[in-house]
């Protein structure tokens, strides 16, 4: 545990020195501020627009941060050959990987907290602050944690560019899995329908973490949804990290 924490804190220190992080953060904060200008162009709906833009910024820039920094975490160590020094120490490879993961989780937490604080400042000044938005942000954060797990998995066996492509594609797939249900309804053969059904559950379903519309429109959200989403994150994220550990263990760093 101490070793994981040591790597995590080191990863965090490394990540907060990364220029990409600040670039994305500044863009996110600027876009959130821009929502005020957008709301000037509309007739009514100002509150909804400010809330929508803010949540979209937290989500989108969070995803970009987790992908761009996540894919570089392991591959950079391999590229710079620093991993050779690390694996020669009395440390398990899974500890190294988990340390990297939790370091990025900490970075994302700080990043999301800064964006949330800025978002609430804007909402507070406009008189639109609503504590229910925190639920949507919490679920966005869970989504980021799952994407980060995938980014680390891809970076454990691929180059940063390919890992970025894989991670972003996975983000697309994760928000389109519902279309497999539609396809299943149109297919006549039992085999095709079974494949659709299997893929629907096998591929990550990131829509589980999406309650933005419900929160913005004050619609009811099932009380147990955050818990099920957490279970989904722990189960799926755990499996992805375990797969990354297995891949890393098989790699030869001697």
């Amino acid at each position: 545990m101490t070793r994981i924490w040591a790597i995590a804190s080191n990863t965090f220190r490394e990540a907060i020195r990364d220029r990409i992080l600040y670039l994305l953060l500044v863009f996110a904060l600027l876009f959130m501020g821009f929502s005020q200008i957008l709301s000037l162009l509309t007739v009514g709906g100002e509150e909804k627009i400010i809330k929508d833009v803010g949540l979209a910024c937290i989500s989108l820039f969070g995803v970009l941060t987790s992908v761009f920094i996540g894919v570089a975490l392991v591959s950079k160590e391999i590229e710079r050959r620093t991993i050779y020094t690390i694996v020669s120490k009395p440390i398990h490879r899974y500890e190294f990987l988990l340390g990297k993961y939790f370091g990025l989780v900490l970075t994302l937490f700080v990043n999301t907290s800064v964006m949330t604080a800025w978002y609430y400042l804007i909402l507070f000044l406009k008189g639109f602050a609503d504590p229910r938005l925190l639920l949507a942000i919490g679920l966005i954060f869970m989504e980021l944690l799952l994407i980060t797990a995938f980014a680390i998995l891809f970076s454990s066996f691929s180059t940063p560019i390919l890992s970025t492509l894989f991670s972003l594609s996975l983000y697309l797939v994760g928000h389109l899995t519902w279309s497999l249900n539609l396809l299943q309804e149109r297919l006549k053969g039992a085999g095709g329908r079974a494949i659709c059904r299997f893929l629907y559950f096998a591929l990550p379903n990131l829509e589980i973490f999406n309650v933005k519309a419900e929160v913005v429109h004050q619609l009811p959200i099932p009380a147990t949804l955050p818990l099920w989403a957490l279970l989904y994150l722990v189960g799926y994220g755990g499996a992805v990290l375990a797969a990354a550990c297995l891949i890393l263990r098989r790699r030869d760093f001697t």
Partner: protein, 278 residues
């Protein structure tokens, strides 16, 4: 220095090309291609969970587009933009229903489209009174279709939290349709449950005038019946009491008795109509 010249030349070339392309497009309105968007349901797949934001951006664009009076054919795709794209992307976004239906009705004179959009909004948001209310107001104020207005106001007033004016308009629609008795019943309810002096005063004026008209209808029907049964009109309203057709001669809301015309054919009231000329 050479670098700076190259940058300036590049900027000049790009600027000239941009202006030229703008001219080739014949001054099309900014974002005109959004008119050809597929349905919101198809677009939803492309928004990756940001359908609310996509609806916001298209709505903001639509406000700019439809307020540009230089575009002659700007109303051609109203239904597509508001009902098929924005409403399908974010069915709970109320402003596009309200503003879209206003543009359709007031600007484009397409009341049919406005009602269709508001119907879609009501189906998607059954707990919002404002959408059926706006549809009802359009039927009442512009189309003068009071039956249609009554149905919409009925739906609006049934939504919990609907403000009092909705109930008043609902009551008034019965009056406009000629059903004064039902209108009186609703106005009396409004009067009895009024929580402000203003509402009490307004509803009293309606109750006052409707009560007189309902009483006159009833009394005239009794006078006709008397005439049929006795072969001659009554000499006065007391004759109706004596004939057992009335328990007593009713008083109008001001406390004055109704009177019979000299020929005995019609009942009259001396009370001044409070809503006359309003």
């Amino acid at each position: 220095m050479k670098g700076l010249i190259l940058v300036l030349l590049g900027a000049l070339a790009a600027g000239t090309a941009a202006v030229h392309v703008e001219g080739l497009r014949g001054g099309s309105a900014p974002g005109y291609h959004l008119l050809y968007l597929p349905s919101g349901r198809s677009l939803k797949a492309l928004t990756l969970g940001y359908e609310g934001l996509a609806a916001d951006l298209i709505y903001i664009w639509s406000i700019q587009y439809y307020s540009n009076y230089q575009i002659q054919d700007r109303y051609d795709y109203l239904d597509q933009i508001y009902r098929r794209v924005i409403a399908e992307l974010d069915p709970h976004f109320l402003d596009p229903y309200l503003v879209g239906s206003m543009i359709m009705s007031v600007e484009a004179n397409r009341d049919d489209l406005a009602l269709k959009l508001l119907d879609t909004g009501t189906r998607n948001n059954p707990h919002e009174w404002i959408l059926p209310f706006q549809a009802g107001f359009l039927c009442y104020n512009k189309l003068h279709d009071y039956a249609c207005a009554k149905d919409y106001f009925q739906r609006a007033q049934a939504v919990p939290g609907a403000p009092a004016p909705v109930r008043r308009l609902y009551a008034e629609m019965y009056n406009r349709l000629g059903d004064k008795r039902t209108s009186l019943r609703y106005w009396a309810e409004i009067h009895d449950t009024a929580d402000t002096d203003y509402v009490r005063q307004v509803s009293w004026m309606h109750v006052h005038d409707l009560k007189i008209e309902v009483d006159l209808d009833d009394l005239n029907a009794i006078v006709r019946r008397y005439h049929e049964e006795h072969g001659a009109p009554p000499a006065g309203l007391q004759a109706l009491v004596r004939a057992g057709l009335l328990e007593s001669v009713p008083l109008d809301p001001d406390g004055n008795p109704y009177t019979l015309s000299p020929d005995g054919a019609t009942v009259r009231s001396q009370a001044r109509r409070l809503l006359q000329g309003r």
